[in-house]
Symmetry: C2
């Protein structure tokens, strides 16, 4: 256990305050939320939920990264979402998750028991409205990802993923992606393969190929440098951008 973080008590201090499902709440609404929330932490690699599990809570990711994925009987698995800070886990109105949720890095969740949260959604439209907005964004991202999975080549898939991670990393630092930027891949080759619908060997080969083409540089296995952002964008196959942002 990496310890319970009972130190984050005050929603006002919360790092995801401005983006999470609670971002629209007024002070009095926050107070209600504060009274029913609790934190849970998971170490890297731990499962958070198995597909079909009874859902006792819904939650926001506060820190860390988790993946949403499904697995077929024979072991083929497909990642269907990356959960980042401020993303929401769980589905009001249903009592089991159709997907597996796994912590990729150490993860802290801000949890609400499902029933009280569902009641709150009825009495507090700010929550429902924000959740609708977030869900619509997720749906757009999921659909954009379908193009990647269904129609892109391995090289385009890798470039698309690198660009997503680059954008996300830049936005965490509150600036824009730019030439020469560097970032760390939060995923293993295998996790990237699961996300992209490839094998880890193909991922490895295409990363090497992008390096040889000087589209990217590598420092160690995880750190990526992008000397020319437009060159990377061109490799995604998208007209100019269009790529998933989430």
């Amino acid at each position: 256990m990496s310890g319970l973080h009972l130190d984050i008590k005050d929603c006002g201090q919360c790092p995801i305050r401005h983006r999470a499902v609670c971002s629209r709440c007024e002070p009095d609404e926050l107070e209600t939320l504060e009274s029913i929330k609790y934190y849970r932490t998971y170490e890297a690699g731990q499962p958070i939920l198995w597909s079909g599990d009874h859902l006792e809570f819904v939650a926001s990711v506060v820190t860390g990264i988790a993946t949403l994925s499904q697995t077929m009987e024979d072991g083929r698995t497909q990642m269907v979402g990356l959960l980042l800070p401020s993303d929401f886990i769980g589905r009001p109105g249903r009592d089991s998750s159709p997907f597996d949720v796994v912590a990729v890095s150490d993860v802290t969740l801000c949890c609400f028991r499902r029933r009280p949260f569902e009641d709150l959604m009825i009495s507090t439209p700010h929550i429902g409205n924000r959740l609708l907005e977030m869900t619509l964004d997720e749906l757009d991202s999921a659909r954009e990802w379908m193009l990647v999975l269904g129609r892109k080549t391995a090289r385009e898939k890798i470039a698309s993923l690198l660009l997503i991670v680059a954008r996300r990393d830049a936005s965490l630092r509150k600036n824009h992606p730019s030439d020469g930027m560097a970032f760390d891949l939060p995923l293993t080759r295998e996790a990237m393969a699961d996300y992209l619908g490839l094998t880890l060997e193909t991922v490895s080969r295409q990363i090497s190929a992008l390096k040889k083409s000087e589209i990217i540089e590598l420092q160690g296995k995880r750190r990526v440098i992008v000397p020319d952002l437009d060159a990377l964008v061109a490799e995604t196959g998208d007209d100019f951008d269009g790529g998933p942002i989430a």
Copy 2:
């Protein structure tokens, strides 16, 4: 033009009354909706929206089938959703659609101008709640489809699609899919290919292969008979079902 269907005036008679975004509305709320709604029709093959278009309205599909898709510069296209009666088009809070919407059959939409509808969503929680529920369902379906696109073989993809259409067709007739059932494919081979991330040749070949394996029978090019439903399910690769329902 297949004519304006001004005969459907009364929401109480509406065929999608119980499933659409308005399904939770009370009589007085329906009346408000009724005052701002209008119908539009599209012939098979007509575009309904182009990606990037200014969105002047949101709408429910009343009758017919439409597709949601994206296209890359070089012409590769991926369908990202099938829109069936009661499905919702448009995104409150955004003023352009990120995807192309095309009528596959003749389509009738029940439209609401966007602004008034957005106002209504605030004053009428029943609408927002229902839309949230529908969006969450769509998101689950999209994610389930990601497994199909990313990890399934061509034969499994075809079987998955056939099963979806079979289920949907059965549910329209208000019964369950069963051995010996027959249905029409609403899509051309090319549209199926766009949905499945395949080429139309591969679609054609795999349909022929399933016929040779006696998993399906064909009457003409479009009508499909499923002698043994479990056999078809087995071809999808899913453990037992799990397949997308939407």
